[in-house]
Structures are given as C-alpha cells and as structure tokens.
Amino acid sequence: MTAQSGVSGVVQIVGGVALSPLLVGLTQQAKARLQGRRGAGPLQPYRELRRLWGKSGVDVEGTTLVYRLAPVLVAAAVGAAILLVPAAAAAPGLGVGHDALVLAGLLALARLAVCAAAWDTSNGFALQGASRDLTLSVFVEAALMLSLTVAALVAGTTDLPGVVAGTAGGHPWTTPALGLAAVAFALVVIAETGRQPVDNPDTHLELTMIHDGPVLEFAGRDQAFLQWALAARHWLVLVLAAGVFLPHPSNVWWQLALLPVSLSLLCLALAVTESLIAKMRILLVPRLIGVGAAVALLGIVTWLVDSL
C-alpha cells in the first residue's frame, strides 16, 4: 500500500463513518441561513444521533426477524458501500472491491431491507412511503446506471479509482458526454439523498413522506442506524459527484485536499436547490428523472460519435 492509498483510505473511512452527518448538518444550516433563520448549527445531526442512541428501541407488535434485522442490515450495506467508494484515485483494497455497479446493488439492498420491514409492520404510511420510494427507484436506477456508464466509458473501466483517475484533469470541460451525465447524476443525488424537489426531508406529515415513511416505526438505536445510513448516503453520492463529475486534479494529494471544498460546495448547492424549488407532485418526479436518464443516454451517444 502506498502512502497515497493509505491516506485516501483513512479519509474514505473516517469521512464516510464519522463526517457524513456533518454533510447533512451543513446542508441544513445553509438552508436555514438562506431562509433567514439562525439554524441549529452544523453539528445538530450528531446531537440527534446521540439522543437516539440513548433511547431504547420499541418493537412493533407481531413483527418478525425481518423487522429486527432491517436497520442493522441497512447500516451494514451502506457501511460496505463506504468501503467501496474511494475518496480519491488511489484507494486501498478493503475486501469489497471498488466496482460502480456493485454500489448500485448495495444501495438496492438497503432499500429492500427498509421496505420489507414496512410490510412487516403493516403500517399504511410506511408502506405508502415504501411503494413510492421503490417506484421512483426504477427511474433513479436507470439514470444512475446510464450516468455511471458514461463515466466508465470515458475512463475505460467501472473500477471507481480508475474512473476518478480517468475523468481527472480537463475532462469535465472537454468531454461533453461527462457534462450531460453530470446532469443526470445531479438528479440521482437529489433522489438518493431524499431532498427537494423529490422528497422533503423536513416533513412531519406522514402522507407526504417518501424516505421518512418506511422508517416511521423505528425508535432508539434502530432509528439512529437509519438516520446515520441516510447521512452516509449523502457522503456516498456527493463523494462520487465530486470525484467523477466535478472537475478534479489528477494528483491524488490535490484530490484529497480539494475534496472538502467540493463537498461543501455540493452541500451548498443542495441547500440552494431546496430553497428555490418546491417539492414536485410525486407523479411528476419519474418524468423528471426519466428526462435525466435520457440526457445521460444522449451523453453516451455523444461519446460514441466523439470516439469515431
């Protein structure tokens, strides 16, 4: 292991596990400031996690092991995904490889675990959220795959450190395909992190919930796992956005140094989007993300024509 990949691995694990709630906190704080509120500070998600960790779990009557296992499995799947997504073009082998398509599979596993638990509780609101989430995921998955395909074609591999290296330098400026894929990936980021205009993270009305619906029935440490997993998903997609679709230098040290800057900018962008755009009607969201997928497809065509 070189020094580069060692440091990159430390950033990847510490960042994914410990700093991901900070991304949520920063976004919330920026949003509060944009709306003229003082906000609770970027450390608020940590306080919430500490509060939840101190509380006892409450089982729903009549549930099975599926319900008990779900929060743990979600956190484990997202944890494995953290080991998978590199912070820079160099990354140590952590046993799970670095394949972009496996990342999609792990996120699907987390989604399935939560939705199966919703069926286990038979809670109508949870099931409503689950069915909406899974419906949207059909389109999100297609857009995600197509945008990753563009990146993989440009870099010539689906191995993420290779993709980060292959898209480094002037690529995002000189390769129009990558720009088009970035548009699609931006929509994926919004959908995966559950933010407006796809979902409203601050809603307290069960009928409007998507991601918050299926986790309604969890309390205490179960809820803490799920909240952490949501924060870690922010880390995963934002690191991917920063490392692949935003301009980044080819030197690994510079990549690591610039990562905090890119992540902060992306959090700010999420906050601005949330403040500017209202939540869409749920049935219009697939159309939006479908357009994103079409744009990514256009990106592939552009790349094909380009490489003639």
Binding site: A80, G95, W119, G124, S137, M145, L146, T157, T158, D159
Partner: protein
C-alpha cells in the same frame, strides 16, 4: 462416464414405470430424482473436465447422441432443478390414479429434456423437442380438466407449435446446409443464414417466452402442478435458451449485426415487459411465470450482447457475455424452481395462492418461508446472492457494447443497459411486495393463521435450493471461468478461477469479501445495538387500530407505478356508486391492467384467423354436387394452364 449416463437414464425410465404402480409413487419419483442426479453429475464432469463424450454433431439424419461442454452445463442445470423438484413431488403428488400418471409422465418429460440436450442430429433433436412440448400438456390435463385448463392447454400447444415451426425450419435448413456442428458452412450475410437466424429466434424465442411470443407462458406455467411448474420454468425455458445459444452463437458462424440487435431488442422488451406485468398479477404462480419472461429476457440480453460484440470483433467480451447469459440461466433455474416449489407448499398449506389472501407465513412456516425469502431476495437481484452475480455480469457485458460496437449498436447497448437497470429496480418492487404479502404482516385468512410446515421431503428440497442460491452467489467465479471457455472461438479471454468475478480491464465483484463484510458488519451492529427494548407497541395508524380492512393490498402497493405508467399500460378501472335518497349505499370498484400484447397483437390475429375460417367454411357445403363441381373446376383450370403454357 457412460455408465453414469446410461444408469441415470435407466433410473429415470425405471422410476417412471415404478411411479405408475399403485403404492410405489414416492419411491418411483425418488428413483427418478436419483437418475437426474446421475445425469447431472455426468454433465458437470464433462463441463469441468473439458472434451466431450459420445458422437459429435452431424448434419446427417441418423440419430446420434453425445455430450459436450454446453450440453453438460445444461444437464447439470436440469439436475439442479429436477432432483429437489422430484423429491418434493414424492410427498406432494397425491396417491391417486391421476397422481400416478403424473408421476410417470414426469419421467417422460425429463427424458425428453435430456433428449433435446443430448441430440446430435436434427431429427432426434426435433423429435425430443416436440415431445418436450407435448408431455407437459398431457400432465396439465391429467391434473385438471376444467374448461379453462383445456383452453389454456390449447393456447399453449397452438402458440408453441406455430412458433415451433421456426425450430423445424432452422434445424432442417441447418442440416441441409451441412451447418450442424460446422460454423464455417454458412457464409456471413447469406440469405439462408438470415432465414435460419429469423426462424431460430422465432422458434426458440417462443419456447423461451420472449415477448411478444410469450403469450402462452404465463398461462400454462401456473396451472401445472408445482413441481412441473418448477421444471417448466426452470429447465424447459433453459433448454430453449440452449437452442438459441447453439444455433445463433455456435452454428450460425459470424452473423450480421442485425441478428444480435434483434435478440437484444427482444430481450430488453421481455425483461421490462415481463417484470412490469408480473407486478400487476394477483396470483402468486402467475406472477412467477411473468417473472420467467423477465429472466429469459435477461438471458437474451446476454446472448444479444455476445452476438453484437462478436460481430464487432471483441471476441473476449463476447465470451464473457455468453458466460453471463449461461450463468443467469442456471441462477434463474435455481431460484425460480425454489419459488415455484414454495408456492406449491403455500398452496398446500393454505389452500389458495391469491396474493391478497396470504400473509404471515414466515412465522408459521419458518423453514419453507425462510427458504422462499432467500429465493425472493435472489430473484430481486440482491448482492450476496446468485441473481446479482449474473445480472452484474450482464450489465458489464452491455456496458462494453458501446465501448466496442460503434454508434448504432452502441446506443442500442446503452438503451438495453438502462432497461436492465430499470428491470432490476422493478424486480425489487415486485418481490418486496411478494415477500410482504406472502411472508410478513398478519395472516389474512384463518387458513394462513393455521398453516403448518409441510412434510420433510418438501421442506428439505426448498432448503436445498435456497442453499444453491447462496452457494452460486458466493462462488460464481468458479463456474463462470469455465463457462466463458464454452464460446466456440479461440480468444475467450482469461478469467482467473476465483470465487469472485474478476473481469480484465474493469471493476470486479468480490463475492466472498462482500459476504464477509456485510455479514460481519451486520453482526457487529446487532451486538452494538444491545438488547434494550421497551415493551412492544402496535404500529402507528394515526391513532386508529389497524383493522384488516386497512391492510395494504397488492394493487395498492403497485399503484404509484401504475399511475406513472398509465399512458403505456392503459389500466382499466370501473367505479359504480349506488345511492339511495342522496345517501351512498354501496361503492364497487373493479380495476385491472389488461395485457396489451394480448389485446393488440394476438386478439386481431386470432379474430382474423377465425374470420378466415368462417369464410373457408362456406366452401364446405357438405353436398356431393359441390365437391364434384370443385373437382371439375380444378381439372379445367389445370387444362387451361397447360394450354396457355403456364405449367407442363
């Protein structure tokens, strides 16, 4: 080797005879299972040892039989499904006359499947092919003779025979050209090659249930007894995939790109269409049958990618795509057989398979329910299990189509990639629903609340198949590295023989590492959570109690998707409100998602055929004078034709 094969065949035939004897049904079926096992072991031996046994392929019309690597792989797949299915059947099939006939016919079914796979000449291939179509029809009719079942069997036989004409044309033309077993006999882009390709796609595609030739499959597969459904959905469609691979990849030689493109389009259509219609089924077995259409679509995507990549000279990736298609065939066989046998278990335990009227079976049937859960997770493409491994490979193969295949074919590959990604997400939606409605939540009928584990034979076959899904998901690389070498061209690439999947020049899927990390993290977090729990409480329904009427239904869960896809699916709904004196007395609701290919493609064709038949019937007046007049007219017409020099 030869003893194993002959012994296996004799055991199956003997088991078939024994099953017909009163009181010997169960031992007969177990003997058949043993025979299938022997055949599977022989097949696996040929696959892994390399080489072949028996005769090579011949274009002569003399019956020949033999085993090569590809046949061996499919024989092993057959055994993987047939052994558990027949052990399951030994305590599932009732000891009645109909049951005994079914038991004997299952031996005939197995032998015909083995016959197709081992046939080395066109005639015996076609003989066993027809037998393979007809025996299940007989089995279905033995079990039930209702009007609906007869109609279904008629549809099945009619469509598979119309489509099966394609198989005949393809095989006989290949034999005529001397191209069976000889890829260099046909020249690229020749007319006869095009005819063979189209005929094979129609013939084998119909049997594989590729859209739009699939109409029979979701009808016929569900009404057979559970273990025959498992054999049909697990093995019979796999044999159709075998035919596709044999003709299109092996014998056709270098094919023009439209062949691969056509297979890719049909595959994408079947994958998306199959799983979409699966979502709107009310009956568990029918849902599973539609999902078979989906998975054969995924297999076809692999084959299509293989053909396109081969056409564009990327031989190595073409071999990987072929390996992906083959691996998905065996994976699908494992989990689909598991799910069909599970459905049979639940039907036996609760009496019905309507999705909205099951529930809570995981608690009542921990072993069968647990095995069914594993199968549902595998079919939904969850990492760690076998479905994900082969879908990952297919995605990789499709991703490399744009990298090698130029603008047009590359775009097609990208669209297919998006379709497969969407299909995988739809499969999650579909099978979360199945898991929830069948295994979880409160029991929705008293029969479900009182359901009990079935006999040990049934349970153990389910658990065996669940184990196969886990093993195939953990060490797919050991099989895949062998499967890529089945490609009939020299450069099949070097895939290291490791448990995980490791393709050169792209990312890799370390299955064992993922298993260790995900399971290890799950265990650690479970321990970290500790055991502190408050007293259980009811789930939140805005302060109401959860009444049975408030439970979610299958249609409710898939409603958002139905609304999103309204423009495509054209769902129908009728709401009738009865009011008396301004007060609503009764609201009745009926909603359904019609099958568009049935209504827009098959209905006009069958209507046209019936209309033509009624016109033709006017010719048949039944009077002797009319027929004499026809004869005289014919003779006169012929004489006239000779006179003007058109014939003779």
């Amino acid at each position: 080797m030869i003893f194993l094969v002959v012994g296996g065949l004799l055991a199956i035939a003997g088991g078939g005879v024994l099953s017909a004897v009163a009181g010997r049904l169960a031992p007969g079926l177990r003997l058949q299972a043993l025979g299938a096992l022997a055949i599977g072991v022989a097949g696996a031996f040929v696959l892994f040892a390399g080489g072949s046994a028996g005769s090579p392929f011949t274009s002569e019309l003399t019956p020949q039989a033999g085993i090569d690597g590809l046949t061996g792989f499919f024989l092993a797949t057959l055994a993987l499904v047939a052994c558990p299915a027949l052990v399951f059947a030994s305590s599932y099939v009732p000891q009645t006359i109909a049951g005994r006939i079914t038991g004997s016919l299952s031996a005939a079914f197995l032998l015909s499947l083995i016959g197709v796979l081992c046939a080395r000449d066109a005639l015996s291939f076609l003989f066993f092919w027809e037998l393979m179509t007809l025996v299940p029809a007989a089995i279905i009719l033995t079990g039930t003779s209702s009007e609906a079942a007869r109609h279904t069997v008629f549809t099945y036989v009619a469509i598979t025979h119309l489509g099966g004409a394609g198989t005949w044309i393809a095989l006989l033309l290949l034999a005529h050209e001397g191209a069976i077993g000889n890829a260099s006999a046909l020249s690229e882009g020749s007319g006869v090659q095009a005819v063979i390709a189209v005929a094979a796609i129609i013939g084998f595609g119909t049997k594989a249930g590729l859209m739009p030739m699939h109409a029979w499959l979701p009808r016929a597969h569900p009404i057979a007894p559970a273990y025959i459904s498992a054999l049909m959905s697990g093995v019979m469609v796999a044999v159709a995939a075998y035919g596709l691979v044999r003709v299109l990849v092996d014998w056709l030689g270098p094919a023009p790109s439209w062949v691969g493109a056509t297979v890719l389009v049909l595959g994408g259509l079947s994958a998306v269409g199959g799983i979409t219609y699966a979502l709107f089924q009310r009956d568990l077995k029918r849902l599973l049958a539609y999902s078979t259409v989906e998975h054969l679509g995924v297999v076809a995507l692999g084959i299509g990618a293989c053909l396109l990549l081969r056409h564009h000279g990327a031989d190595q990736w073409a071999a990987f795509a072929l390996g992906a298609a083959l691996l998905h065939t065996v994976n699908h066989a494992a989990f689909k057989a598991l799910l069909f046998l599970g459905a049979g278990t639940f039907e036996r335990a609760t009496g019905a398979l309507e999705l909205d009227r099951l529930g809570g079976l995981l608690r009542r049937l921990p072993w069968s329910g647990g095995a069914f859960l594993v199968g549902a997770l595998a079919i939904a493409g969850m990492p760690l299990l076998n479905g994900f491994a082969s879908e990952w490979l297919t995605l990789q193969a499709l991703l490399h189509v744009p990298a090698y295949a130029g603008v047009w074919d590359g775009t097609l590959g990208a669209v297919a990639l998006a379709a497969l990604a969407g299909t995988m997400a739809l499969a999650v939606l579909c099978f979360v629903k199945v898991i929830g409605l069948v295994l979880l939540g409160p029991p929705r009928r008293t029969a479900c609340a009182e359901a009990a584990e079935p006999a040990r034979a049934m349970r153990s076959s389910l658990v065996t198949l669940a184990g196969a899904c886990i093993v195939l998901g953990t060490v797919p690389g050991l099989l895949f590295s062998r499967l890529t070498t089945l490609a009939p061209w020299p450069d099949t690439g070097q895939v290291p023989t490791r448990p995980g999947l490791d393709l050169p020049g792209t990312g890799h899927l370390p299955t064992v590492g993922l298993l260790v990390v995900v399971c290890g993290l799950t265990g650690l977090l479970w321990l970290a959570r500790g055991g502190r729990r408050a007293a259980p409480s009811p789930s939140w329904a805005s302060g109401q109690l959860i009444e049975p009427q408030l439970l979610w239904t299958s249609a409710g869960f898939s409603k958002p998707l139905r609304l999103v896809l309204e423009a495509v699916l054209r769902p129908q709904r009728e709401i009738a409100t009865t009011t008396r004196g301004g007060v609503v007395q009764e609201v009745s609701y009926a909603g359904r998602v019609p099958h568009l290919i049935d209504t827009h493609l098959y209905r006009p064709v069958t209507d046209g055929a019936l209309l033509a038949a009624s016109w033709a019937r006017r010719l048949q007046s039944g009077r002797l004078g009319t027929y004499v007049a026809y004869l005289i007219g014919l003779v006169l017409a012929l004489l006239l034709a000779v006179r003007i020099g058109a014939i003779g």
